[in-house]
Amino acid sequence: MYKYDNYDQAMVDARVEEFRDQTRRRIEGHLTDDQFKPLRLKNGLYLQLHAYMLRVAIPYGTFNSVQMRKLADIARRYDRGYGHFTTRQNIQYNWIKLEEAPDLLAELATVEMHAIQTSGESIRNVSADQYAGAAADEICDSRPWAEVIRQMTTFMPEFSYLPRKFKIALIASQEDRAALRWHDFAIRIVKNEAGETGFECYAGGGMGRTPILAVKVADFVPPTQILSYLEAVLRVWNRNARRDNIHKQRMKILVHELGEAEFIRQVEAEFAHILTLDHDFPQAEFDRVAAYFAPPAWETGLSDEIDRSDPDFALWVDSQVVAHKAPGYAIANISLKPVGGIPGDISAEQMDLVADLADKYSFGEIRATHAQNLVLPHVRKSDLPALWAELNAAGLGEANLDLVTDIIACPGLDYCSLANARSIPVAQKIAERFADPARQRDLGELKIKISGCINACGHHHAGHIGILGVDRKGTENYQLLLGGSGAEDASHAKIVGPGFDEAGIVDALERAVEHYRTVREPGERFLDTYRRVGMDGFKEAIYG
């Protein structure tokens, strides 16, 4: 993975000291809250329902065991012994003290981590396929490009005061594991008929109160021109965005209002202009960055056999293990969704264990997923039984990847100052209702996503089944949505009908699931059945 050079480290260290001074001035009363708020947000520090919350960037979801141990250390020393992995492959802490935040950031900097641009009107942490560099189906490792984009978009003066936040994702496979079309700007790395690598680009996607899927804006941008293309997209948005209305400032609104053709025309004109400046990055610089992502020293001659004699282990393999590009290796997913637990939460002790297991079995590498789980990307197949045994002993052995209990949920009203309703208790009740492993497997792939407000941090628009918490005259109420997807078959979910209370939403969801079981055809996922039969049958089953 990427290693900071002296410039990177100096920039991050300087930022810590700058924030230390800003914090001191705030505490001493030289800065008002209005003056300080944008400064702390640029360093990932929110004021949430109970305390300050710090969101730490994990670029494209890649980190290592040393960093994980530091995250555990921070959880113990600066928080309350745990952290929460988010839907943007980051981690956040819920109980941070402002007076300690500069010290915490200094600790992060010692392991090449920071919280820069994890909040505010900035280009956020670039997200990517969590299996990048290991996946059997990728055409190349997308992370060097993600790193180049990260470097370009960090502290870039022209884009320091954007109309709103801007989210980027990229993948290099046909299967979309990064919710590509739900991003402001997204890249799928492809090969053309001549075998050359290029970038298929999408723009104008996003969730929130106006869910819109990104549209394809370029079929094949040459790799060395991708930063110029991205710059052109950002410039067109920055120039034309509706800064008069916070709800209309995201790029998706601009693409929608200009129209796809006019947006593309403006981007291409700007792109052509930027190309005349000849300031694309040199190939040598990309090669320098890419060298950090060279594959680890995979052993050769390993067996692909997995001893499946333990039935519980076999179930875990079937659920959590994904094909690796190297013979004898596997990608192992670690579920952070134990039944009754809090999706994405992990204790400091579990963090330390995952770090140890990464060292022992995965060349020290760890990935965070946008579905709030973790990944050990390079595990010898012969090590899988031992890995599973150690995970299981620590409560991390759940076998539910992409099943009904692998629920994405935002922190909701239990932690978030923007939320209208709690998300986590609903996720817990659904998981408990469907706890039977056999029932989960019978239902197959079923992605449930829960948001506690219209901002959609829990991705409810992209859920096969989505749940949106709303405030109905001071009472929590939940709307049920069906038919969304964040994968390569992306679609946004539609509201079924009137909402439910906390107990009612679980019953309603179960009725929808049972209707699926009744009408599904062999091999159909919930989403396939919904798309085939439509909403009416589900609606009748839910409301009677």
């Binding site: 705030r26 505490i27 001493e28 009363g29 809250d33 004021l47 329902l49 109970h50 305390a51 300050y52 309350r80 819920n94 109980w95 941070i96 003290k97 402002l98 007076e99 809090i342 009203l413 239990d414 932690y415 100052s417 939320a419 709690r422 986590i424 208790p425 817990q428 001071g474 009472t475 929590e476």
Partner: protein, 99 residues
């Protein structure tokens, strides 16, 4: 009744105006009445509270303030999904007070 809440500047902890200073416990909150704006302006200017605001509340059976909205009741107690981290980890009735 109107009660005042906000966050402690240094720690971020949720605090409540008890008539004299800021308390961690909503039970200490008093009706700020017509003085709400004045108190908030004074306390904010002195950096004794961060992001202060007034909320509606009603006296509970014990006569102490219970915020009208669930969001403020969760702020007052702590996350409902982590009772061990709330201000009343040993009180089985705390959840009922929130919901």
């Amino acid at each position: 009744m109107k009660i005042l809440t906000g966050n402690d500047l240094k720690t971020g902890a949720v605090v409540w105006w008890d008539g004299r200073e800021w308390s961690l416990h909503v039970e200490d909150a008093v009706d700020a009445g017509d003085d709400a704006d004045r108190i908030l302006a004074t306390e904010t200017a002195a950096c004794r509270v961060n992001g202060g605001y007034a909320i509606d509340a009603a006296p509970g059976p014990d006569g102490r303030a219970r915020p009208a909205h669930i969001k403020d009741r969760i702020r007052a107690l702590g996350p409902t999904v982590r009772p061990d981290l709330t201000l009343k980890p040993a009180d089985p009735e705390a959840g009922t007070w929130v919901i």
